[in-house]
């Protein structure tokens, strides 16, 4: 059986005034039907670029897809015509963005925006599309959905707007939902609502989810597997339990150590020293080498490839076995 989504060796470059930015350097991952994956990375890691490539939303003409394939349900999206791709996206792959205010048209009612999309993709009549729009609003937990169809985006609160966006994304029963930092702009309690909502919807609708975030904490209870990106490279990929308990890449470990924990005053945080490398310089070494406490000569000579360290668990590190052997989360339980 083929995977729902299979990204292989995707390479994306950006041409800027200062040179070529190596935004994504050959990332690969796959997703089964109904599975959920978190792509975790800090700013500049290229985590969003990969998703935008998937949606065909990379900024033109600066961005170039230099190589790789993206197979969705067995079809290579990158060789599809613009029209075919457009049909795939929106109907079968949908995306939720970070900023709920700028992603909705302020001049149209929420009902209009929803039924527009429904009519466009599903070819149904107006009354039926309105019906479906109300159903969607109720699905995402907006009280009195029928009454709110005629409200404009500004009449919704921030959290509700994000719900409307999710409704918009769900309007065509997509097989895959991409959520690009959908909770970053939201308050903590609203973020918790969104996470619960997406969790519930996934169970209910059986769709696959790619959740892009900078926060390892948020996705721990949310996804099946996690991919960690650093400086345009995928440095580790693992089922969620393995990643948090047995991280095999020093960067993942560093991220986990950077998170504040509970034993107050007993310990300092262990930050990762330094900052990410300049994306303008192509990597001739492991991109993390200069910040890594585990670095050996070899790391500076050639970049390590993603290799398997356990079933379904791979890391791009020469010393992943040493890193992996460290006591990790919950080892003391």
């Amino acid at each position: 059986m083929t995977a729902l989504l299979e990204v292989r060796d995707l390479v994306v470059r950006f041409d800027t005034d200062d040179g070529t930015v190596h935004a994504v350097n050959g990332i690969s991952y796959s997703l089964e039907k109904g599975e959920s994956l978190a792509i975790v990375g800090e700013s500049g890691s290229g985590k969003s670029v990969g998703a935008l490539a998937l949606m065909g939303l990379l900024p033109r003409p600066q961005a170039r897809i230099e190589g790789g394939t993206i197979h969705f349900k067995g079809r290579n999206l990158l060789t599809q015509s613009g029209q075919e791709w457009q049909r795939t996206r929106g109907r079968e792959i949908a995306m939720v963005y970070q900023d709920p205010m700028t992603s909705l048209n302020p001049a149209l009612t929420v009902g209009q925006q929803l039924s527009q999309v429904i009519r466009h993709h599903l070819n149904v009549r107006k009354p039926a599309s309105r019906e479906r729009a109300a159903d969607l609003l109720s699905l995402v937990g907006i009280p009195n959905p029928r009454g709110r169809l005629d409200d404009y985006p500004h009449q919704f609160s921030g959290g509700q707007r994000q719900r409307v966006l999710i409704a918009l994304a769900l309007s065509c029963d997509p097989a895959l939902l991409i959520a690009d930092e959908p909770t970053t702009a939201l308050d903590v309690t609203i973020q918790a609502q969104m996470i619960e909502l997406v969790k519930g919807l996934r169970k209910q609708l059986g769709m696959a989810v790619v959740w892009i975030t900078h926060d390892l904490g948020v996705v721990a209870g949310l996804v099946d597997k996690v991919a960690v990106m650093y400086s345009g490279n995928m440095v580790e990929q693992a089922p969620v339990h393995d990643l948090y308990r047995q991280p095999a890449h020093p960067y993942t470990l560093g991220l986990l150590n950077s998170l504040p924990t509970l034993e107050h005053g007993t310990r300092r945080l262990t930050p990762i020293p330094g900052s990410p490398p300049d994306p303008l310089r192509p990597a001739t070494a492991c991109p993390f080498a200069r910040r890594c406490a585990w670095v050996v000569d070899r790391c500076r000579e050639s970049p390590p490839a993603l290799i398997r360290v356990a079933p379904q668990h791979s890391a791009a590190c020469y010393r992943s076995a040493d890193v992996n052997r460290q006591p990790a989360v919950g080892a003391q339980q």
Binding site: T16, D17, D18, G41, E42, S43, G44, S45, G46, K47, S48, V49, P59, H214, P271, P273, G274, S275, D278, R290, R291, C292, A293, W294, V295, V296, D297
Partner: protein
């Protein structure tokens, strides 16, 4: 484990860019140079400025010397732009007229800039009543029948250099004031201004050091475009006979003098050359303005890197 190295870097802020720091001015210049038309515009304008300053000394004709023998000549090698009905060399007049035209425009823009920046800065920074009052003044100036005021000014004081400068400035300072005000309104809410206040920086210094330099890019762009506007206003004043009086030459004035010659006598060179000068100068300053706008835009300089 001998192969393990200590982390060479201290647990610190990481890398400050290694290459030599580019100053903001250098960065702006670099951005400006990427705008080819703007560079051409700058070159042309520089050439014109140099030409009108040194040109009159280099050519063998006096722009005011009347000589009936050479009247109404079409362009030749001796008179590349021909002569007028009084036998004056057109090239000499274009050069000497360019002095006045460019000087008047530059002075008018400067005056408009000073008034506009002052009014806009006070209105924007103070807010409240001063803001309301000053903005109503701006509205009044927009509503004034401009030409009428100018005629009044010229009629009362006479068409001297400064009257015309003031006349042009009076018609054009309001845009700058509005621009500066809106920049100030948004900049004074910026965190770096709040930070300066927390540190204890005085209001005057906040305005001069923190807000004004950041409000200046739209102003500089507006000023460049203002030069073009000033040339056009001066031309129309001269065209209406309200500008500098003969035998003084300006490009607009020459154009105005040429109208009967061009229409009834078909002496195309009379209108073409001063007109061309105005056209090229206005176009050049517009290009420079465009180039500056792009170069001074903080999104193009520095703040790179977009989304992750």
């Amino acid at each position: 484990m001998s192969e393990v190295r200590e982390a060479a870097e201290p647990v610190a802020a990481g890398d400050v860019p290694e290459e030599k720091a580019r100053s903001l001015r250098a960065e702006t210049w670099r951005q400006f140079r990427r705008h080819r038309l703007a560079v051409v515009g700058l070159a042309v304008l520089t050439l014109f400025t140099v030409a009108v300053i040194v040109g009159p000394w280099l050519i063998p004709f006096d722009p005011y010397y009347i000589d009936a023998r050479t009247a109404n000549l079409a362009p030749t090698l001796t008179h590349p732009m021909g002569t007028d009905e009084l036998g004056r060399d057109q090239l000499a007049r274009v050069l000497i007229g360019g002095r006045l035209t460019l000087a008047v425009s530059a002075a008018a823009v400067l005056v408009a800039l000073i008034v506009g920046v002052a009014v806009g800065a006070v209105a924007g920074y103070a807010g409240g009543f001063p803001d309301n009052a000053l903005m109503r003044v701006v509205d009044v100036f927009y509503a004034l029948p401009g030409l009428f005021i100018v005629i009044l000014l010229v009629a009362l004081i006479g068409p001297t250099f400064w009257t015309i400068v003031i006349a042009i400035a009076v018609l054009s300072w309001m845009n700058t004031a509005r621009l500066v005000r809106s920049s100030f309104l948004s900049l004074k809410e910026k965190e770096f201004v709040e930070a300066a206040r927390t540190v204890g920086v005085s209001d005057a210094r906040i305005v001069l050091r923190h807000i004004l330099p950041n409000a200046f890019s739209p102003v500089i762009v507006a000023a460049t475009l203002g030069v073009a506007n000033a040339i056009l206003i001066e031309s129309s004043l001269s065209f209406l006979g309200l500008g500098f009086q003969p035998p003084e030459a300006t490009w607009g004035g020459m154009l105005s003098e040429s109208k009967s010659a061009v229409i009834s006598l078909g002496q195309w060179w009379r209108g073409l050359f001063p007109g061309l000068m105005i056209f090229i100068t206005v176009l050049s300053t517009n290009f420079i303005g465009d180039g500056l706008r792009d170069a001074l835009d903080p999104r193009s300089a520095g703040n790179k890197g977009g989304r992750a």
